[in-house]
Symmetry: D2
Subunit: 300 residues, 4 copies
């Protein structure tokens, strides 16, 4: 008889918005929360008995009720509340994983009274994944959709040439990518001091952008490592970081047929290509630490 | 025999990036340019004769060559160069329409030398549409994907109630929308002074956001009109503006089954719904002007 | 004072699924319904008075209630019921427009009893737009996302060459497009016999595909006209049809650097490009009829 | 110093179309191919030396050249050719992974000569992933975006009720999902007979649909297991299969406020919800086999 392997279930993409009021000044938390539960779930697969199944509708209700009862201090803290609840309140549930996407908003300046008007920032989406098995925590934070570009200080040459190689070497090119990244905290136990999740996120993001900007790049791999290493070096709370960096190619357009020189000097014109794209992925680890973040952050 | 009606053709979605250098300080223009040409094109439809057809591949080449030759001062100015070229250089082409999407970037602060590092702003997409028939210009600018929210100062009551009405009246609700807008300039002739397209865009955007923020709203229609009227009042160069505003519903979650009160006071929790959504669309015009912007900015 | 121009409002994207049972054999109708209402709506824009406003929530309720009460014979018939209701039951509403997307399903063969298992067909999305002003009807049906390809019998040569033209002529190319089309019926009055909407759709789709397949093409414009003309010729109930046809370019890959000949003979290898793409749009009309379908079916 | 962990790179989303001609009858293969290479790549990350780096541009060229030289017998066979090439031709490359998406086309009936006209089927996307380390093969095939529905023969009751449970039990509900699945072959070695990849895919798909249709469902977990078990039972070449099944909720609309009874008898009207959705994921294994397919097929 075929055997049941790893399984998990829950309610995905619960869109939760919470408004807190500090007098006339309002604050937004805007999350997309997905819950996955695992445990003693063989019977529901083999026979359809739901005796151990907390309905996904209940996980949805719990997300909203907890947003009210506990507030949303940060995506990570909110996920910790939820994961602890599911594992400790339901005997058949042995593991809970909560994934959160967070959308940032900024204020609209307003000549009237109060501060309750916002425009969605629309840059990267912040990510958090909290896993709890009743004993140990794993917190992986991250971001996606952060598009960055260096318009110079990038080269690519000295590579292997085989019979299928036609690419000319480049000594001044655009380097652009859409950063997808996940980083793992070394906080794993309730006994440890918990990181300041909000500060940590802001600092990781800052170092990531600065390492990207300040690296004179001979390959996107080198830039990736520089971004990761800088975060490991500056943020003690993080042991591991993984990146998935599509190389968003910008090709100099050949304008010679029209009598126009289009090199990388002032006024260069590029074609921003969609597909295919180079895809550079790697993990950077604190020395002595093991990797836990899965290899694939995308499905391509 | 079936008759050919309105027809147009061209190359859509030419992705053009141009980098200008001011010493070590670089600047980006990042556009998506679509060209539509019309004119004496009956034969290509009836018989397949391409004798009057400038290939769409040529329109693509022209976009890139013009970015090099003329630069990209603004989306509107670039479209004007292109549209004039097609209509004046090709006898069979009687009308050219150029549509541009523009993506904004902001600088990454960088401790190194030079200023050539950028992060895509990721907020609204700027739009421009330039149409030329050899005599008259029509310039319609716009934006899309600008998501805004007022977390209070919005009510909805006093509406018609028929047998299918169940909605309770609301005296304090979230008002959120994703602004899609187009506005038409009264510049139509090369003899007129051309507006400063960049300043105009920034000012329209600023007034739009402020009118959204400062309007105490009894309906999204009222807010829409306030946004449009403020722009007509403050920007002499604009005669007409149209909005398509989806009402992005945020519903207070019913937490009473869990013994929790969830009203709009501090800490309210909302479900951000996807579909369906209210869709509010209208044009606001300078008194005495005619509407030219099409009624539908979306297909739903 | 700025003036209010054309305006409309309603609930968009109501997802309605209705299951009818013929004993153990079930049938699905799966629609996405958007309602836009216009009329005596100045006050809600100028002052926020909702006295003439039927809430969009009510339009949503009405869509679901009508699906129950009247059934869904076809997308068009369902839209006619709804549009008539809004215009005739609410004095301030002078015009109603109902847009419908319909998703097709096919049966999964099943060795068990009953026929209640389906797989979504996933090909084109069927479209219908019904507009009523209390006197006249306008019904425009359509489809989108129908991707078609001829792997030969397409040429492109004899076109205009200007200084920006580099495209080589092609005597055997792939012709591929993603059809977006709308067609208008000459049924406008309750006194006329109503078309059989289901049969009409199937026949239009069939003629469209066959005209695409059977036309030896010298340009995509010629193919477009052939598709439209065939429908006008064969379907008396239709007076006008518009197409928006992106030319989905398939470029022969240059494999000469690797000693491989890659012409259009057996085994040709193509790169399927994303952007840019040619975009060919035109209306075909029954002789003597006026065009009513808007020029732009897309926003690019 | 921070340490480099797992890393891989290559060109993603190479869109390859190949047309084979059998006289006037043409055949299409339409693939999206992504290549990831791993091996002795420390230096490119640490110092930017590209001495071991075969450019991603070369992997792209290789994909196109191999499509010409070797043809595309199946997605799996094509991936095997490519993966073997990269690992055996480049000393620094120790592992190659090739992922393929395949789009199906069906013929347009055509009254003319030849069979070269196609319409994209538009249903599921076929997937294949081939990994080679110079010794062992791992082939994982799959599909995504296959939307299925049972309009009856689904119940959900007898579940855990905690303080956050409000869901009423259901004795006749719609069960709908969008199948994402991956299955692993036990072919790992060139010495073994290779499966017939095309037949295998068709059979897996058929069994998957039939198990969905024929299972009287007490939970989506039970249906998932039935789908997986049937494939393990019927297809000896497969040892493991994983599913990610979003529960696409269809809620009976409450029409009682309008005096309408809307139960699951004939003519039931449902609201098809977008988010949140249940997400049910599990692996089914041949007895005695180990799981290799990663737990997450999506990022939510």
């Amino acid at each position: 008889m075929p055997i049941l392997g790893q399984n998990q279930y829950g309610k995905a993409e619960n869109r939760v918005v919470r408004i807190t009021r500090d007098g006339a000044t309002h604050h937004i938390k805007d999350l997309n929360v997905s819950v996955s539960l695992s445990g003693d779930m063989d019977e529901v697969h083999y026979s359809g008995s739901n005796a151990n199944v907390l309905p996904t509708d209940t996980t949805k209700n719990t997300v909203y009720a907890f947003a009210k009862e506990h507030g949303i201090e940060s995506a990570e803290q909110f996920g910790i509340h939820l994961a602890r609840h599911f594992v400790t309140s339901q005997v058949p549930i042995h593991r809970a994983r909560v994934r959160v996407e967070e959308y940032a908003w900024e204020r609209i300046e307003n000549s009237g009274e109060g501060a309750h008007s916002f425009v969605r920032k629309g840059q990267e989406t912040r990510l958090a994944q909290i896993t709890y098995d009743g004993e140990q925590w794993e917190v992986v934070s991250g971001l996606k959709d952060l598009v960055v570009m260096n318009s110079t200080n990038s080269e690519f040459w000295g590579y292997v040439k085989d019979k299928y190689t036609t690419l000319p070497e480049a000594y001044d090119r655009i380097l652009a990518t859409e950063v997808s990244s996940r980083w793992r905290f070394n906080w794993t136990d309730d006994e440890q001091d918990m990181p300041d999740w909000e500060t940590s996120y802001e600092q990781v993001r800052k170092h990531m952008l600065q390492a990207f900007a300040e690296t004179y790049s001979l390959s996107l791999q080198q830039t990736l490592y520089a971004m990761g290493a800088r975060i490991i070096d500056h943020r003690d709370e993080i042991d591991e970081i993984r990146f998935s960096l599509p190389n968003k190619h910008h090709f100099l357009v050949d304008l010679e047929p029209f009598g126009l020189k289009n090199d990388t000097a002032d006024g260069a014109v590029y074609f921003a290509a969609d597909r295919p794209y180079g895809l550079i992925e790697a993990t950077v680890l604190r020395d002595g630490c093991e990797a836990h973040i899965p290899v694939d952050l995308s499905n391509l």
